[in-house]
Point group: C2
Chain length 558, copies 2
């Protein structure tokens, strides 16, 4: 016992709590670190010009010899998207189920990391020895096949991580959630449960994906012309059901949009899609078929500007047009922030004369969530009967609601921990407490740069985006104490020059006068000249326009 008490389990998140995206959870016992997932998130609206955001993994790189591997629960971007960036700095084995590894491998190939990354296939009944920690898995239902939860057997006890889940009692692919294994874990005794919180604000029970399939058949049958279905590419169950509904209604299916083509190809190769012979046609074949024998399966359910559906809606798709009378099904819920894009796409489709099925899945029936609602979260809690509870995968309000659910089913409130990224929970001799913080944060990726865009760069982009920039160029002769050339004012993003000639002429005078005055006073310190020009011009422009462009004085001396 005395030896046992000198070590502890430490649990923390490097991403995924207090936010949606970049999921990355860590469990450490002594010299063994196990990482669960390595996701990305899409930039917030104030992260101008940023492509994606990944977790700060400096704790892991500093302890690289202890990291036993990354266990990946499923193949969604917010769980695998960080891998290409992270594996560059932390070359550790990656564990995943067949489809998950398939999707990861496509990413690693693109990033030229496939050769140097050890990838290990797991099955739901795999047991992994990761130093002092033994990992096992249980199958869950989610909007992508081959999703699993993770059970980590540590010397302190069982730590269970649910992955993303719902309970779908009629799953499309017959991959039933492993209720028995969950029950077994609960019977054995779960020390700490980490459970996902996406739908913790939603009451009730999320409907089965199968209900979507039934509705698709109805819509396909009613449609007198072509049907376009836009959905997330990774929702293989949904894709499968589109093929099945097409078959039942005598339609062929063509697949468009880069990610849709990629995922359908991978899923088909790995056996996760069952596409009947002859059902799949090329986009070029569409026009040779009667309109009521065609389904177009497309990306663009979020109104993404470059997606196939958006291109069709704007009549700029190279191969396919929307014709009056076509039916377009948007089988997705807009992610917060995308409502306007989706709305605009719907508008354009209506303008083209399409019949558009859009709106909340509860009304249209053509979409259900992949995440469990409150009753399912309670079912998981009831199965696991954890001593300690850490809600994960959600904004603070979702974690809070999930905590309330846990308390409502019997977890002691003082045994629940809402974490921010970097917050730790330490469990020693069965007692959990908050530990010291470890480094955590957002690493911003812009193009090929990782981490070279920080607060100063973002602040400048914000300023530039609001009122633009004025570059003031002037050449001075120090000896003669006069302006040799300029000032020239170059404006970008400030005002439309042709409309504002008077203003810019006056601005020119302000600069000339300021410099003349300063040179008269024999003040010729470089920094002061620049500052005074910037201040005088800034004041003048604010008075005249109420705008504050960035002002960049370039003062040359000859």
């Amino acid at each position: 016992m005395s030896k046992k008490s000198s070590e502890k389990v430490t649990i923390f998140a490097l991403g995924g709590v207090g936010e949606i995206g970049k999921n990355m959870y860590v469990v450490q016992y002594a010299n063994d670190i196990v990482v669960i997932d390595a996701g990305l998130k899409f930039p917030e609206e104030d992260m101008l010009g940023i492509d994606v955001v990944i977790p700060d993994i400096s704790y892991l790189t500093e302890n690289r010899d202890k990291v036993r591997g990354i266990l990946v629960t499923h193949g969604h971007e917010d769980h695998i998207g960080g891998l290409p960036y992270i594996l560059k700095h932390l070359n550790v084995p990656v564990y995943g189920t067949k489809l998950t590894l398939g999707l990861i491998e496509a990413k690693l190939k693109e990033a030229n990391l496939l050769g140097e990354t050890k990838r290990i296939l797991i099955h739901p009944d795999t047991e992994l020895n990761l130093g002092s920690i033994t990992a096992s898995f249980f199958r869950t239902n989610h909007s992508i096949p081959d999703s699993v939860g993770v059970a980590l057997d540590t010397p302190e006890g069982l730590i269970v991580h649910t992955g993303d889940f719902k309970f779908d009692f009629t799953p499309v692919n017959q991959q039933y959630a492993d209720l028995h294994r969950m029950a077994e874990l609960g019977s054995k005794g779960v020390l700490c449960l980490l459970s996902e919180s996406t739908n913790a604000e939603r009451s009730g029970f999320t409907p089965s994906e199968k209900s979507v399939g039934q509705e698709l058949v109805e819509v396909f049958r009613r449609a007198k012309q072509r049907v376009v279905v836009a959905t997330f590419a990774s929702n293989i169950h949904r894709v499968q059901q589109v093929f099945e509904a097409a078959m039942l209604t005598n339609r062929k299916v063509t697949v468009i949009g880069r990610s849709m083509v990629n995922v359908v190809t991978i899923a088909n190769e790995l056996g996760y899609l069952d596409i009947p012979e002859g059902m799949l046609i090329e986009p070029e074949e569409v026009n040779s078929l009667p309109a009521d024998e065609v389904v177009i399966l497309s990306t663009g359910s979020q109104g993404e500007p470059m997606s196939a559906l958006t291109r069709m809606a704007r009549s700029t798709h190279k191969k396919l047009d929307i014709l009056p009378g076509d039916t377009v099904i948007i089988a997705a819920t807009p992610i917060p922030g995308n409502e306007r894009y989706v709305g605009r796409t719907v508008d354009e489709l209506f303008r083209l004369g399409a019949n558009v099925i859009y709106g909340p899945g509860t009304i249209t029936g053509v979409h259900v969530s992949g995440h469990g609602s409150q009753e399912e979260l309670k079912l998981m809690l009831n199965m696991m009967k954890p001593k300690y509870f850490i809600p994960i995968h959600g904004e603070y309000r979702m974690l809070k609601q999930h905590t309330n659910l846990a308390v409502s089913v019997g977890v002691e409130r003082e045994n629940t921990f809402i974490l921010d990224i970097g917050d730790t929970v330490e469990i020693q001799n069965g007692i959990a407490r908050r530990g010291s913080k470890i480094p955590a944060g957002n690493v911003l990726i812009d193009g090929l740069g990782v981490g070279d865009v920080g607060n100063i760069v973002l602040r400048d982009r914000k300023l530039l985006s609001q009122d633009g920039i004025l570059v003031v160029v002037v050449t001075l002769s120090k000896q003669e104490g006069k302006i040799i050339s300029g000032p020239d004012i170059i404006s970008r993003g400030f005002v439309y020059v042709r409309e504002s000639e008077g203003l810019l002429e006056e601005a020119n005078k302000i600069v000339s006068n300021t410099l003349a005055r300063l040179m008269g006073e024999n003040v010729n310190e470089w920094a002061s000249l620049k500052t005074q020009v910037r201040d005088a011009l800034g004041r003048f422009l604010y008075e005249q326009t109420r705008r504050r462009p960035m002002i960049l004085p370039i003062i040359m001396e000859v």
Copy 2:
């Protein structure tokens, strides 16, 4: 008859169709133009740095001698917010009911336009002679008191504009919708109905505002500490109900947030609020009262960054804090695009230990829409029985759904017209057809500038916001054919310089080499030098970083 047939009624929108906001509708008969509303809209996400957007009114200024006045249906920003800008260029009388004029006058005062603007008070039974057009009004229910619809009697027949409306059979202020007048108009025969479409996608009947009052009493009663209610300032009915619920539960009310204080003051002065003696307290008095005797009525229901609620949530409000156990009611639905802001505010409030009531009004009961749902739109159509129908006030998809509703209640589909701004409908001898387009568009307002920010400026702001700017400064001697000073590269919003010294040094070399090569070739055309520097540097940076900053070469010659 022959005389009659030579003139026609022309109907068009300068704003409010194909968009949410900047409502402005125009009816013209011969030399008489009547304008209905003059709103603003908030900028779309690609209108960087823009404060507000108003309609292009060049048609009206070109025909200023014909414009008989602007009839304002109610006091919301999307109906009155354009007035301070528009009246500067078009000094015509403004007509409105008492509260509407009160809110307009506050705006005109700020813009120093009060003295020179003719403001004419109307009552629901007012009749106005506007040249060949006679205007009358009918009271409607909406989320602000004193809302009216407009009936324009033209020589061609009656044109009815509904304003914004719902049917609230138990209105908070006893201002019942004028069903009888609507029925009368319908009996008389409506040539063309313009009806608002905000909730045309929503089935059923919007609940009465009174249901919110009942729920507020319940929440106030259950709350053991202070209650904060955030709602739109202009929703005077809601504000009244907060005072009533406070009185019933023995609480005093303090009002915070600039627009809430303004509107409560104006509405109180004009008699639209009935605040019992002693109910209203100053924010400074809050802390001297027991927590369960306080209500704080606040702005910030949209999570606006500078609002009172957001400040309290961030613990940066000067006078008031959120304490653990306080109840915060967010009595509003997020406007599309604001979901993230509201979510963040809710997160912060939960972090402070507050009990937050948020989410769809259908679940919380503390918010109802001010706009009628499908059954109410059909009721209006049934009352008016119009020959022609023009859906207004909504995005295209809403106008489309509203058109379908009109057809479902008996309007001929060929008698319905979905308009874009600038599209006209002409009615002559009882026959409507589409006429030629008139100029229409967005006028962007940035600070004091009106119309000096156009596509080029916005494109530059977009570029600058994505990857920043590099200014390359170099001085050449033409005679000696060599670089005298520089190149110096100044970067803003591109990379964090300290992290990228190597990159910028290499960039420097690229510029030097390009110039040396060109000068060697005796190519010294100014424009070509700049273009070549820009191209070479741009190519290099894109290869290295996959970013495309704006590059501004400044090449001086001595």
